[in-house]
Symmetry: C2
Subunit: 224 residues, 2 copies
């Protein structure tokens, strides 16, 4: 029984990768940079997206895909900022897949988009295993989750381009060792950039925006 499940899931994984490749080609043709944002529930994915929209919406045309098990709370918040947003409800599913993103892309004004945020389901496990067609993978670690998370969720930490340590304003109230966290991440993923931010106070957001704008420009440069 175990073996049978694995076989089917392997096939599903391959099918997902084919669609992810198609999504990426579609985005590439239009010079859109797509960022897959992942984290535990409540780590601040939507807050990061809202902060970024607030700071960059005069410079770049942004669109958002929101993934959740249920509700449209997040897409509503994004839409209030005047940004095109599509909510994907997975109906209990624990991660987005490339097929879901493809449907979302059909419902976004892609020819008027420079930057696409894809907010994955709040889950530090399953989203790590499914590519969607994104160019960069970004994860948030909320400071109160603790500095031992890289040891416990290695697959997530190993596959991302950026780790954002969010809620850094809580540092004085917590027993969180930044040095040992950074060492743990580096041991799993030496190429990951690490930024310390607070989406509430705005601390550290400039470094994140600087990295992000560099990536958008590189993507545009490759396109034109």
């Amino acid at each position: 029984m175990e073996v049978k499940i694995l076989r089917v899931l392997e096939n599903a994984r391959e099918a997902n990768n084919v669609i992810a490749g198609r999504n990426q080609m579609r985005l590439d043709k239009l010079g859109i940079l797509a960022i897959n944002i992942m984290s535990s529930p409540g780590a601040g994915k939507t807050s990061l997206i809202l902060q970024t929209i607030d700071r960059l919406k005069e410079k770049f045309r942004i669109a958002v895909v929101e993934g959740d098990l249920a509700s449209s709370v997040d897409a509503d918040k994004v839409h209030e900022q005047g940004v095109p947003a599509v909510q994907i409800n997975t109906d209990g599913g624990c991660h987005l897949n490339a097929n879901m993103l493809e449907s979302a892309l059909d419902n976004l004004p892609l020819t008027d988009t420079d930057l696409l945020f894809i907010e994955n389901v709040g889950n530090l496990v399953c989203p790590a295993g499914f590519i969607l067609g994104e160019h960069k993978r970004v994860m948030l670690l909320s400071l109160p989750e603790g500095d031992d998370k890289p040891y416990k969720y290695p697959l997530m930490f190993s596959g991302v381009d950026v780790v954002l340590i969010n809620k850094i304003d809580f540092l004085p109230h917590l027993d969180f060792n930044l040095e040992s966290f950074r060492t743990a991440v580096a041991g799993i993923n030496s190429r990951a950039r690490i930024f310390q931010v607070s989406c509430k106070t705005g601390e550290g957001i400039d470094q994140w925006l600087s990295w992000l704008m560099g990536e958008i420009k590189m993507k545009k440069g490759a396109h034109y």
Copy 2:
């Protein structure tokens, strides 16, 4: 393809339920109360278990099963308290299943146990869908995760007996509406007990222990 996956998973779910039933019968025969503890990563499951061990170890014989994708960090901490602990590494798997618990039970001194904690993988999605043979399901919501979580993770909130709002000592620093959180939980699950605790300061732990001791005694009463 979709349909095929669903069919196989349905069969796997049924197989899981059969083993879960067997586990529960085994625990019942020995008068052991088993508690499945679930939460997002870093919400405080291990801290709750350690606090509870510290307060109850003179009264009851406790054993622990620790579930993680990788590492034995948590089992080591529990073991330091002089309590039998088995670590299950799921090797990337996003939840415990009944089969894993069965193997863990084979490695615990069950005839010398009153209370068994099963710490699930840190994940607010997948563990909700798999029973293990536990008698009660308990979830922790870490205050910094936000008060909107019941809307986003309804399956988890609907299936638990107890919701512990942990890290309640952060309340003055956060925009968390306790009333609207309680209303949201009640709308999904009217029978769930809600306790506000801090595993760091010990605040509210007495109410949790009082509920837990009541359950242990009921289980013992049913046994003898």
